[in-house]
């Protein structure tokens, strides 16, 4: 291990980690939004749109992110849609994450017994009130484990962004290996960077899950 090399190129990794985290955050927030909308459409079985959403979910869950990115980055410019690496990464991550989040929320929504909704309506709450005060809090609690697994999964998936020329952690590591042949140091820093990013997130989520379990209904 060459400590000097590590300290010299550490800033590169910090920059890359910032970029990775920024894109992951934007991607995950928009995935949550997309997923939430999709799960509602499927839950309330809104005609026609519900079919399209199902097709989208199956397409996105059964194809790898790398191929989706290649399609966006190398394929789409041929029909005149040119996206930068960053927007490609965000769109790709949202396309993938949206369906995973939708499935997570849907499993939460479906786990709530019908009687909850009926009781709410029978005591005179409006449909929206039933959803907002009764269904949603329980659904979010139930889908939390799946939701947190998805967040970690999506951050992990950001590692393929180097393939569309985004200067993320993988890209920096590959660059350093190519330029200086310092494979050990470059890979060591790469592993550390991912541990520093992902370990706290996974620990925080497991704490949240444990806290939320008490809020669950009926146990």
């Amino acid at each position: 291990m060459d400590i000097q090399f590590i300290s010299k190129y550490l800033p590169l990794y910090v920059e890359a980690a910032k970029l990775t985290l920024t894109i992951a955050t934007i991607g995950i927030i928009s995935s949550i939004f997309v997923g939430f909308c999709c799960s509602l459409v499927r839950y309330y079985k809104i005609p026609f749109i519900h079919k399209i959403v199902s097709i989208y979910i199956e397409l996105s869950r059964n194809t790898p992110l790398l191929i989706q990115l290649f399609f966006l980055y190398f394929g789409l410019p041929k029909i005149g849609i040119r996206l930068s690496s960053e927007s490609c990464a965000i769109v790709g991550l949202t396309f993938l994450g949206g369906s995973y989040m939708a499935e997570a929320f849907r499993s939460g929504l479906e786990a709530i017994p019908k009687i909850q909704r009926e009781s709410g309506l029978s005591i005179g709450l409006t449909k929206f009130q039933v959803f907002w005060h009764i269904i949603l809090p329980q659904a979010v609690t139930i889908s939390m484990p799946a939701f947190s697994a998805n967040v970690v999964f999506l951050i992990k998936e950001t590692s393929v962004f180097s393939a569309v020329a985004l200067a993320d952690l993988m890209y920096v590591a590959k660059d350093l290996i190519g330029l200086y042949y310092k494979t050990d140091e470059a890979l060591f820093m790469l592993v550390c960077a991912y541990l520093i990013i992902l370990l706290p997130i996974s620990i925080i989520f497991s704490i949240i899950e444990r806290k939320l379990r008490y809020a669950g209904f009926g146990n």
């Binding site: 059964n62 194809t63 050990d184």
Partner: protein
């Protein structure tokens, strides 16, 4: 001509070559799946042991492998091993190693979860009606475990196939690489080939993964208690 890009797919041996690339992907993922299921079952049983040292070691292995992006693991094996120990592995071999290490961790955790979800009284009732240990496992525990395990294990197969797409980044010639070669060789005559080739690869992945994931969902619904 924009709309003629699709003809690239059917020119010469392009289609056969792409399917050949798919076969490489599938071979690597199926081999890794087979190894992971075998090793994962063993790991799952080991993880169920009461020994605290074993518990800590398996836990660290599991957490590390699950928290690292698979691409990082691929880089560690493909570039790291070569540099550190002078072991020169081909891309295919490192892919199988990495996906087996990763799949074993995932499968081990599934097996552990499935074994733990079997209530204790199942073992006790078995003993109470005079079955021996082997009979308890063969007739009571294993059939129930498989029911819980199989849908999840099948789901792991689709995840494995999807993750295998990463191997193009360590230089294995599989479907995406073949696609890129076809795009390159047609760059001047058919500039719009890229969108068709990538769309085709996208749908090939979908065609492979969709039935498997449907099967997993169906089994899960069927065997729900």
């Amino acid at each position: 001509m924009q709309d003629l890009g699709i003809r690239v797919l059917f020119e010469g041996k392009n289609l056969v070559r792409l399917l050949g690339g798919l076969w490489v992907t599938l071979q690597i993922s199926l081999l890794s799946v087979a190894l992971s299921i075998l090793l994962g079952i063993i790991l799952g049983m080991i993880m169920n042991m009461k020994n605290p040292v074993v518990k800590v070691i398996t836990r660290i292995y599991l957490e590390f492998v699950r928290i690292m992006p698979q691409l990082v693991l691929l880089f560690l094996v493909y570039f790291g091993l070569t540099k550190a120990f002078g072991i020169n592995l081909s891309g295919e071999v490192s892919a199988v190693i990495v996906f087996t290490i990763w799949g074993t961790a995932e499968m081990g955790d599934l097996v552990r979860g499935a074994l733990q979800s079997i209530p204790k009284h199942q073992y006790e009732s078995g003993r109470a009606i005079g079955l021996n240990e082997f009979q308890i496992y063969a007739h009571i525990i294993i059939p129930q475990t498989i029911r819980r395990l199989l849908p999840l294990a099948i789901n792991l197969v689709t995840r494995m196939i999807k993750t295998t797409s990463l191997i193009v980044l360590i230089g294995v010639v599989e479907m995406v690489k073949v696609g890129q070669q076809i795009i390159e060789s047609n760059r001047l005559e058919v500039p719009s080939a890229a969108i068709w080739i990538y769309a085709f690869i996208f749908f090939l992945y979908f065609i492979v993964c969709y039935p498997i994931s449907r099967l997993s969902v169906r089994l899960e619904k069927k065997w729900k208690d």
